[in-house]
């Protein structure tokens, strides 16, 4: 809706649309015979900057302002780094609640907006969820401009490009798509751009809203995107030809596309020796296998395939299980459920209460359950192994999917023994292989095999760190969009 050429009508319209909000201030400023009105939302704008840079300036310049062309004078001579000329009511309201001060003139169908944003953001802090030993420890904040700055600070090349979008009918959140011009594949950018343009949601709370809106209904439970709060990791990924999605008011960014192997990478990998990284990645892969398979294999061994246990171990198992009245499946399910409750409690409980929960849960519950004969000690060990192994990953989505697959395999193992476990593994691998992330195969670079990309897969070659190449999103291994 275009603006009318009447100051009072514009103000009336704003009042009407905002429901006469009490935090919107209207200040008339008489100059000669004319009156201009300053409109600003005092909750998101800085009062001192309005006083210092607009009101005082206009007061000083009163004499000059008595000329006829008041509009162009204000536009040209009031100093401000961010000035907008507004012609529609929608824009006016958007900037009003973005911390701008609107200046409304008589007989003018344009509004001038000056930026006087209040700083409502937390400062740059150390990364909490992805801690770093050797690398830089700053992390993204909730401030969109700061976040952009953190990326620009690291990649000063003019090739760091980004497209900006406004998403959310009510929240009007800024979303930016970062990529390196000339490295990233244009098709991928177009694909993601069109997806973001088609988003139709009311409110964007965090990066996760965007992820849910652009990802297809996910058949398998494994996540097909990577979120990080480390700007250094985001830059490394940008240089590998991926795109980074940044969402206003969120301290995490999304990296797309994301392969399965990326969950085994850690930002700190790039600050360590390649050989050590190889070791830790192997450890992470084994941790994943252990986390998913240990309870299932234990159940099938104990309930179906006794002959595969060495006899010495069999005697131990059999003595320890002596007097436990429940089936092995029941034991495992109870203990893993208890562990999940503990974990949930530990995470949500505020402050220092967490450690007392783990003492009560870990020591008292575990020890007492064994002594009471409800579970056997070996069960506690098995649940412990799989739980600890699942915590080797920082991505909460991945941990959740590991939990699901643990459960699925436990059920299959309890029904069909080893055959069931093997069946479950085949399904798991098939699902992983059928996954797509932005049209790229999820199991890349192993399937389809890409020799070049092996340099930053399980092994980390020095050359891929020092001269990152676009190996994932290059045109020649591009596939159909999912």
């Amino acid at each position: 809706m275009t603006l009318e050429k009447n100051r009072e009508k514009i103000i009336e319209e704003i009042k009407k649309r905002t429901g006469n909000a009490s935090d919107v201030s209207y200040k008339d400023f008489p100059i000669d015979k004319k009156i201009i009105t300053l409109v600003y939302a005092n909750t998101v704008s800085s009062a001192s900057s309005i006083n210092d840079f607009i009101l005082r300036r206009m007061d000083e310049e009163k004499n000059h302002l008595k000329i006829d062309d008041l509009f162009s004078y204000v536009k040209n001579y009031i100093p401000n780094n961010s000035l907008k000329e507004i012609t529609t009511m929608e824009d006016a309201l958007y900037y009003l609640f973005n911390g701008f001060t609107l200046i409304i003139f008589d007989n003018e169908s344009k509004i001038i907006a000056f930026e006087n944003k209040a700083q409502l953001n937390s400062p740059i802090q150390r990364s909490q969820n992805e801690q770093s030993l050797k690398g830089p420890s700053d992390s993204f904040t909730e401030n969109y401009e700061t976040n952009t700055g953190l990326l620009r600070k690291r990649i000063k090349s003019e090739d760091l490009w980004f497209n900006e979008f406004i998403v959310g009918k009510k929240s009007k959140t800024k979303v930016a798509l970062f990529y390196i011009n000339g490295v990233c594949n244009q098709k991928l950018i177009d694909n993601i751009t069109s997806k973001i343009n088609n988003i139709d949601i009311e409110y964007v709370g965090s990066t996760n809203y965007i992820l849910d809106a652009i990802s297809n209904p996910n058949r398998a439970i494994f996540p097909t995107n990577l979120t990080t709060e480390r700007p250094d990791f985001a830059c490394q990924m940008l240089l590998q030809g991926r795109v980074v999605l940044m969402v206003e008011n969120s301290n995490q960014v999304i990296i797309l596309p994301c392969m399965f192997i990326d969950f085994f990478k850690n930002p700190d990998d790039y600050y360590e020796k390649g050989l050590n990284v190889f070791g830790t990645r192997i450890v992470r892969i084994i941790a994943m296998i252990l986390a998913i398979l240990t309870p299932a294999i234990y159940i099938s061994l104990m309930s179906y395939n006794l002959e595969s246990i060495p006899s010495g171990l069999l005697i131990n198992f059999s003595i320890q299980r002596d007097g436990v009245p429940f089936p092995t499946v029941f034991e495992i399910l109870v203990m893993s459920f208890m562990f999940q409750i503990l974990r949930e409690g530990d995470m949500r409980f505020p402050g220092k209460g967490g450690s007392s929960i783990s003492i009560v849960g870990g020591l008292v519950l575990g020890q007492a359950a064994v002594e009471a004969g409800i579970v056997s000690p070996i069960t506690i060990i098995i649940v412990g192994i799989s739980s600890v192994a699942s915590l080797a990953f920082s991505s909460i989505e991945l941990i959740n999917s590991i939990r699901w697959w643990q459960l699925i395999l436990i059920i299959l193992a309890s029904l069909f023994g080893f055959v069931g476990v093997m069946f479950g593994c085949i399904i798991l691998i098939a699902l992983l292989a059928s996954h797509k992330s932005c049209g790229k195969s999820f199991l890349a670079p192993f399937e389809p095999f890409n020799k070049n990309a092996q340099k930053d897969a399980i092994i980390l070659d020095k050359t891929s760190k020092l001269h990152p190449q676009n190996v994932y999103t290059k045109e020649d291994n591009d596939e159909e969009n999912n």
């Binding site: 006794l306 005697i315 003595i319 002596d322 089936p327």
Partner: protein, 400 residues
Amino acid sequence: MKKIIKILIIIIMLTSLTGCFNYKEINDYAIVSGISIDKDDNDSDKYEVGIQIMNAKKDEETDTSLITFYKASGSTIYQALEKIMLDSPKELYLGHNEVLVLSEELLKEKDPLNYLDYFMRDAQIEKDALVMVAKESKAYNILKVITPLETIPSTNLKSTLNIADNFSGTLTIITIDKFISDLTNKGVQPVIPTIKITGEVKEGEKMDNITDSDPAAKLKFDALAYFENNKLKGYLTNDESTGYNFLAKTQKETYINIKCDEKNYATVRVKKANIKEETSFKNKKPTVNVNIGIKADLLECNCSADFIKDNKSIKKLEEKVSKKVKNLVVKASNKLYKENSSDALRYGEKFYEKNYNEMKKLGYNKKSIIKDINFNFKVNTEITSTELSIKAIKEAKSNE
């Protein structure tokens, strides 16, 4: 949504209303670790089967498992096992059986093929269990003796035999499936280790046996037993057993003692023995030429010798070792082929494979050829290392 609910109901019904195929918790089983078969003294057609169960109950003090023993007799092995199952509160699990002890008496009287069928037919039963013969006592007594180092007798037997197989030349291990396949193979006869109890059998059954520093009853492996016509014929001596292991190529590490001067002895360890055999008909008589090439280490030498200055001294030792080994294999072949006709070394089969035409021409078959075989042995020894010292300590003293 309705579909999901339906599927959920089906899954719940499947898990709660039906049993799971083959589902059995570990503590529903009594794990059998050893089986013994004896002749029933009251009824000669029946067999007395003893089983040892290794997870009977938990010893609260040491946290180890205690064994228990059951015995029953039946016309078939399974009938006896079934009788035991009626007595025991748990189902027998034979998948981890470690030893099969057969009694001397039964092996001497009956072909084992008459009663071992169950061990090959049952899918669950362990076919890798070791076979041995109980000498001078009932087979089930062997399973009752508790020994200090390993509280479970069957595990004790198995590991002792495995160690002995690796570090002495006199024993060899044979599993149930190998034993049965040797028996079913016409002409070939198996050789199995023997086990006997030394000391008081009655004392060995008690838990006190393991608390004494010198237990009243001990289990002891003896040399090998050989068969003729699928029946136990007799026992080899230790020397013959060593010789047998050389010829059967089953020796791993063998220690050989030789006299190096009038009173003193030396020991060598045979690391590797290269055995080449050749079967032929010389003057229409079946002949086997065996070349044994031995590589050995000198482990102990109690005679005076300096291996650097006098290079003849090591030659002398080598010759003596060759002579000794030749003596061992001659003894073994004489016992098996001349005195008895037990083709434990499969020469009948080897002639049949390689010299079939001549064998037919001269009217021999796999069995009849055994008695006529002539053996020619040639042993060549090389002592490759004298370990840490290059001369004997005796020599060092005399030099001063």
